[in-house]
Amino acid sequence: MPLTPEEVRAIAELARIGVSDAEVKTVQAKLNDIFELIGQMQQVDTEGVEPMSHAQGSALRLRADEVKEIDQRGLFLKLAPAPDMETGLYLVPKVLE
């Protein structure tokens, strides 16, 4: 079932990616081409097949719950500074009034 422009807008909102009114049609057309390709999956019966989420069959390794990370806050803030900072804190627009 092809995506409607409204669905494209809703997905974009979920993904927090701005899509302008001018772009919606193009985005919709290309996504629908891709979902047509993806739709080929329906040709095969997968009833009873166990889903494969990962190349490794076994469960992930566990580790002891120990603190290993050292404090690198100063270094990180220096080498990869945030777009807006004050006294070492990240600044973003106000969320609560």
Binding site: R16, K30, D33, L37, M41, V44, T46, P81, K94
Partner: protein, 485 residues
């Protein structure tokens, strides 16, 4: 030295025929001369590379050299390297300087190798042509009007143009093997979990795997010796005994069972590519290999399943890029949500935005079973096809890519056509199997053709053995692009 193998270079360094500083300057000079034309590198820092080379010369003088000490290696700009700009080919990371070293970078420094620069790539490794980079497209050294393949196109082009003796890349759906094929070099994607993903910017975590580019299978083995191994910082890194991947290189191929998947020789395969691959198979026959016809009936569904699984994982991985903590932030916004929307719309390129949208949709409420779960079931069927195949053969061989390199711009407006480039490479990622591409001839327009070799889990040494014996009998891997400089 530009055409020398890693062993020849190491021997030149050991016998003081050349110093690491001279060698590094030689390749830096080559980059300076050619990068304007090919755009293979995003970041080069001559002073720092030469500084590392000087340190390597010190180790060599002390007699403390390892096999790769003093050899310059270029790294895909997806690997975080301390104090190096690390962009992943994206505007959103265009001001991001690495605060630590990725596992792979640590391994190369530990081996005494020199970091020659960071190579250009499709943005966030999403692409098959290296055209989607914020830093502009990479050009194919064999014909600068063509793409080098992608997403690790900068690394492939750098090795092909002899701007680096070796390089690294990552492969989520073919991003090492397809550019290796289209650029006429060798590339290896190891078994999932063999190389740590620590510090490798994540695209699709259940598929991403790092690996080397080089001029020969022997060089690939030496590079894999450096980067393979357990790392507790990657929860999917596999704990196992270290291997010497060069150990089986010389083994004769008599009795080798070569599985030939009929599905990879049908509709969609360009005749010039098919012919070169057929000639390579005949060469392997002469070396004593036995062909076995195998079926990979579900591999035709690998592209559809991949374009559910990879975008789903990507949409989650890339949610961290929000303009709040690092990287690019949009200039004008009204509130926090608007800041996110504008930052991500401006900071990500078209293909990355598209994949995030696909992933967001297939994971959204009500669609999960129809898309994501279905794709995971098909992933199982594809992996099962290989399990069956490897009961009857030792290695699966076919074409790496359906065509030789295409023209820049030829497929950028049609994502589905672009995605179909990876039809032969994606199955190995979905199954988690090791696979390589090596040059096996030339097709239309004198452009290189790649031979694809897929092995069973942890059979890298076997793949490299087959590739090396083939390369002892042929010289496709020694050919270099004409007309550069």
């Amino acid at each position: 030295m530009l055409n020398a193998s890693l062993r020849e270079i190491a021997s030149g360094l050991a016998r003081k025929k050349i110093s690491s500083v001279e060698l590094t300057k030689l390749f830096l000079g080559r980059i300076k001369a050619l990068n304007g034309k090919l755009n293979a590198f995003i970041t080069v820092d001559e002073e720092r590379s030469v500084g590392q080379a000087r340190a390597a010369d010190g180790l060599i003088a002390k007699g403390a050299a390892q096999p790769l000490t003093g050899i310059p290696v270029a790294h895909k700009d997806i690997f975080v390297a301390r104090d190096w700009l690390t962009t992943c080919g994206s505007k959103i990371l265009s001001n991001f300087v690495g605060p630590y070293d990725a596992h792979l970078i640590e391994r190369f420094s530990g081996a005494g190798a020199v970091l020659l620069g960071k190579t250009n790539m499709d943005e966030f490794a999403m692409g098959s042509s290296s055209e989607s980079s914020f830093y502009g497209p990479v050009k194919n050294p064999w014909n600068a009007d063509c793409v080098p393949g992608g997403s690790s196109g900068g690394s492939a082009a750098a090795v092909a143009a002899r701007m680096a003796p070796a390089a690294t890349g990552t492969d989520t759906g073919g991003s090492i093997r397809q550019p290796a094929a289209l650029s006429g070099v060798c590339g290896l994607k190891p078994t999932y979990g063999v190389v740590s993903r620590y510090g490798m910017i994540a695209f699709a975590s259940s598929l991403d795997q790092a690996g080397p580019f080089a001029k020969s299978a022997e060089d690939l083995a030496l590079l894999l010796n450096v980067i393979a191994g357990f790392d507790p910082r990657d929860s999917t890194s596999i704990e196992r005994e270290p291997e010497d991947y060069t150990r089986d290189l010389e083994k004769p191929l008599a009795g080798l069972r070569v599985g030939v998947p009929k599905e990879h020789f049908g509709e969609g395969l360009a005749p010039d590519v098919g012919k070169a691959v057929e000639t390579a198979l005949a060469q392997l026959d002469k070396l004593g290999a036995k062909r076995v016809s195998i079926g990979l009936p579900n591999s035709r569904l690998s592209v559809p399943a991949y374009y559910v699984i990879a975008p789903a994982e990507a949409s989650s991985n890339l949610s961290r890029f929000d303009g709040a903590r690092y990287g690019y932030r949009a200039k004008d916004y009204t509130d926090l949500a608007d800041m996110y929307r504008k930052t991500r719309a401006e900071g990500f390129g078209e293909e990355v935005r598209r994949r995030i949208l696909i992933g967001t949709y297939v994971l959204s409420h009500g669609y999960y079973d129809a898309y994501y779960l279905k794709a995971q079931k098909i992933r199982r069927l594809i992996a099962n096809d290989f399990t069956e195949a490897f009961k009857r053969c030792d290695v699966v061989i076919g074409p790496t890519s359906p065509t030789v390199a295409f023209k820049i711009g030829a497929k950028t407006s049609d994502p589905v056509q672009m995605y179909l480039n990876d039809i032969y490479t994606i199955p190995a990622n979905l199954a988690g199997l090791p696979a390589a591409s090596i040059p096996c001839g030339f097709g239309a327009g004198g452009l290189p053709v790649g031979l694809h070799l897929v092995g069973n889990y942890f059979s890298e040494a076997k793949i490299l053995n087959v590739a090396h014996r083939y390369q002892r009998e042929t010289d496709w891997h020694r050919r270099e692009p004409a007309g550069l400089q």
